[in-house]
């Protein structure tokens, strides 16, 4: 029973961990791409990685915090532009193939031994090398604070400060998306998702709107990347294809084209994994499934859940089935 409590605490801790917030932010970006505009971006991890690298390298180069964040967002916008120009006039599959490829290119270049001086190669950049300016901003001071069963440093590398900032950003972005999608601009995006030709006949430049959505979602993804690496390290392989698929799973679980879907989905995603691992670790003997296999089993389950959600409840937990017809052209 005690172990069960430990599992529950671990699940609750992961629900509001910075990684969950980072995944939620990336999923909010993807929601603008896929949920509202119908763009099949299969390289959201690439945007995260571009943001993380641009941010960390800028800080290491001595640029202050906010300009560094700006550089990261601009880098992601340029990345989106490069990907959008050849593909946004073509059918959706092409964007999917190009984005997944481009994300891989970013990862391979990032981990290449040629660029070790800049990107740290496959070892990546350690958190200490770029975290300083961020933790210096903290007004929480030193020491530790305990809230319920959770004890973290006030400021430290992975403490209350990063949690506070990360979830504030999640909140602001939710509000932003809510307001944006009620605006005329947001209505055009939804219109493009439902029927591109109809929007074109209204005299709107569909290509330009799609590009704006791709850039906006991509920069939000980059912000997610920055949050993801702040408590950890910049590591090319930690933002590979699997990360893109996790973001997709989180988005579809929670409900695409909803404001809180991506956030809820990210929390469910991490909680589900830990729950499966915890239950497997407690009730299944090691001879049948050891700890490592329990982890892999939880991933298998994630894959199956993704399949089942898309087949039986494409609108996710929060979505509205009428809203999400999934008819991407």
């Amino acid at each position: 029973m005690n172990e069960f409590l430990t599992t529950l605490t671990a699940i609750a801790a992961s629900a509001f961990s910075p990684s969950t917030a980072a995944l939620a932010i990336a999923a909010i970006g993807l929601n603008i791409h896929f949920g509202y505009t119908g763009l099949l971006n299969m390289g959201q991890a690439g945007f995260m990685l571009v943001g993380a690298y641009a941010f960390a390298i800028s800080i290491v180069a001595g640029i202050p915090l906010f300009p560094a964040v700006l550089i990261a967002l601009v880098a992601a916008a340029v990345f989106a532009l490069i990907l959008g120009v050849p593909t946004l006039k073509l059918r959706g599959d092409y964007l999917a193939i190009v984005t997944i490829s481009a994300a891989e290119i970013v990862r391979m270049i990032g981990r290449s031994s040629l660029l070790t001086d800049i990107t740290g190669g496959s070892n990546g950049l350690t958190g200490q090398s770029y975290r300083g300016p961020f933790t210096d901003l903290s007004f929480l001071g030193d020491g530790q604070t305990t809230l319920g069963p959770f004890t973290y440093d006030n400021t430290g590398s992975n403490g209350w400060w990063i949690r506070l900032v990360a979830w504030s950003i999640v909140g602001i972005l939710c509000l932003f998306v809510f307001l944006l999608m009620r605006s005329p601009w947001g209505r055009v995006l939804r219109g493009i998702r439902e029927d591109e030709d109809a929007i074109r006949s209204l005299g709107k430049n569909v290509y330009s709107y799609k590009m704006q959505a791709l850039i906006l979602g991509g920069t939000i993804g980059a912000l997610g990347g920055i949050i993801y690496v702040l408590p950890a390290s910049v590591q090319a392989d930690s933002m590979g294809r699997s990360m893109t698929f996790f973001v997709w799973t989180a988005l579809l679980l929670g409900g695409a084209a909803t404001v809180f879907g991506p956030v809820l989905g990210s929390i469910i995603f991490f909680a589900l994994r830990l729950f499966v691992q915890g239950v497997a670790g407690q009730f299944v003997p090691d001879s049948i499934m050891n700890g490592q296999q329990a982890e892999q089993f939880s991933w298998i389950l994630i894959g199956v859940v993704l399949m089942l959600v898309v087949i039986f409840r494409p609108q996710g937990v929060l979505g509205n089935k009428k809203e999400l017809s999934f008819n991407v052209n």
Binding site: S19, L40, V85, P86, T87, L90, R91, G92, D93, Y94, I97, V98, S101, A102, E104, I105, M108, I109, R111, S112, S113, L114, T116, G121, S122, N123, G124, T126, G127, A232, S233, Q235, D237, S238, G240, R241, M243, F245, W248, T249, L252, Q292, Q293, E295, Q296, F297, W299, I300, G303, V304, V305, L306, M307, V310, I311, P314, S325, F326, N327, V328
Partner: protein, 445 residues
């Protein structure tokens, strides 16, 4: 056996490697501290000389999954590397790089196997003793056919071109199916790479674990893989088509399937790289080109199978029907072709061909692991797009070009970039001629 494992790692670098390419100090990564997080783990340690001083500049090679990293200990004798695949990693100490007057304690295994996990640190100790070598040495990892970039010689060009043809042929085998599935159903199958992996791992179980004859094992593997294609269509894809699920949704279902399969492979086989053939590969020299016997067999079989597939598509009634469905399913249905039966056949054949490609790839690379197919998938997409989505012969041409480009890139750029070039070509093709070489304009809009 451990040396064998290392060889696999190095051999797998030959085509699939993403990491640094050779054990030479020139490409070695200076060690930096590694921080474990949710998706990475660390393997690290400190090497001290017999007299207690840190051993500086000792070279190590760490093979994790299919990546190999070359490390040098820093001024404090520390080394560390980030890993992304949980499970055993092989750490090899280059005994020739030890500080003079030091040798490795003979009781220490070299290479050492470290059981690393994600989100934590693992380590191994290489204890050095002062004195003469006790004769424990390891063969320096050979660079295989992924030689480091240097001057471009005629010999190296021919060697890489041969590797390119080899990769192109195997890629063609795997991507014909991907293209046909796309042509007949409109589905981009992201789980196609896992069909390739399945082939390689099944062959490992049959040939290596159960000790069957290699040809028998390959034959059985292809049969089982084809069956998986048949039942996949019968149990998943046909019912979903009947439900009227749009292709975008189906595509995300294939992504879910691909995640589930990848981790299922890890669940049953583990994250390690396994070999199909227990024997060490025998190489043959043809002029300036060195290829393993397995490679020659694989290329021969691939050519034969590709010709058979081509003849089938061009000459047989069912083949013509397949092309008709691929061209225009509604029109084909209207002219009396049983579209569902053709799609079933395409799924079966595609899975079988992918399985065959997996077996060959496992033999050619002398190792296969859970992400072999995953890495091939992007090259397959590049090949299929280059040739024209949905066209069988486009996939063949695209695969040969992509295979060649990937291997020839190695002449001028380090191994890390060879996939990047292939994907860059993909993006350029979409800019200039989005329908690909053999595609038709109206399909892309």
């Amino acid at each position: 056996m451990l040396a064998g494992l290392l060889l696999i790692g190095v051999a797998s670098l030959g085509l699939m490697g993403l990491g640094a390419t050779s054990a030479s100090a020139a490409t070695a990564v200076p060690t930096t501290a590694c921080v474990a997080n949710a998706t990475t783990g660390c393997i690290q340690g400190t090497i001290k000389q017999g007299n207690g001083d840190p051993a500086v500049g000792v070279r190590l090679t760490v093979t994790n999954g299919d990546t190999t990293e070359n490390l040098v200990t820093d001024a404090a004798g520390k080394w560390g590397v980030a890993i992304t695949v949980a499970g055993p990693s092989t750490v090899t100490l280059d005994t020739t790089s030890l500080p003079s007057g030091n040798t490795l304690d003979p009781s220490i295994a070299n290479p050492a196997t470290v059981n690393g996990g994600l989100g934590r640190n693992a380590g191994t100790i290489f204890k050095l003793v002062s004195g003469e070598s006790t004769g424990l040495s390891t063969s320096a990892p050979s660079t295989g056919d992924s030689a480091t970039t240097g001057s471009v010689t005629w010999e190296r060009f021919l060697q890489q071109a041969a590797s390119g043809i080899r990769l192109g042929l195997l890629l063609a085998l795997a991507s014909v199916g991907l293209s046909l599935i796309y042509g007949t159903t409109g589905l981009s199958n992201f789980a196609h790479g896992e069909q390739v992996t399945l082939g390689g791992l099944l062959a490992f179980v049959l040939a290596n674990q159960l000790g069957l004859n290699l040809f028998l094992a390959a034959f059985l593997t292809v049969a089982v893989c084809a069956a998986t294609g048949y039942f996949q269509d019968a149990l998943i894809w046909k019912p979903l088509r009947k439900r009227g699920l749009p292709n975008t949704q189906l595509m995300i279902v294939t992504i879910g399937l691909s995640i589930a399969l990848q981790y299922a492979f890890q669940f049953f086989i583990g994250a390690k790289t396994v070999r199909i053939d227990k024997a060490n590969p025998v190489t043959v020299e043809i002029g300036p080109i060195t290829l393993s016997v397995q490679s020659l067999w694989a290329m021969g079989i691939a050519v034969a199978v590709i010709i058979l597939v081509g003849l089938f598509l061009l000459r047989s009634r069912i083949g013509r029907a397949t092309r008709a469905v691929s061209d225009n399913p509604s029109l084909a249905a209207a002219s009396g072709i049983d579209v569902d039966a053709i799609i079933r056949l395409v799924w079966t054949a595609s899975a079988g061909l992918a399985g065959l490609a997996g077996v060959m790839l496992g033999l050619v690379l002398n190792g296969v692991n859970w992400q072999t197919g995953l890495q091939l998938l992007l090259l397959m997409f590049a090949a299929v797009t280059l040739g024209g989505l949905g066209t069988a012969f486009g996939a063949l041409a695209g695969a040969m070009i992509i295979g060649m480009v990937v291997e020839l890139t190695n002449l001028v750029l380090p191994g890390d970039f060879k996939y990047a070039t292939a994907l860059l070509i993909l993006i350029l093709v979409l800019l200039v001629r989005p329908q690909g070489i053999f595609g038709r304009r109206e399909r892309i809009g």
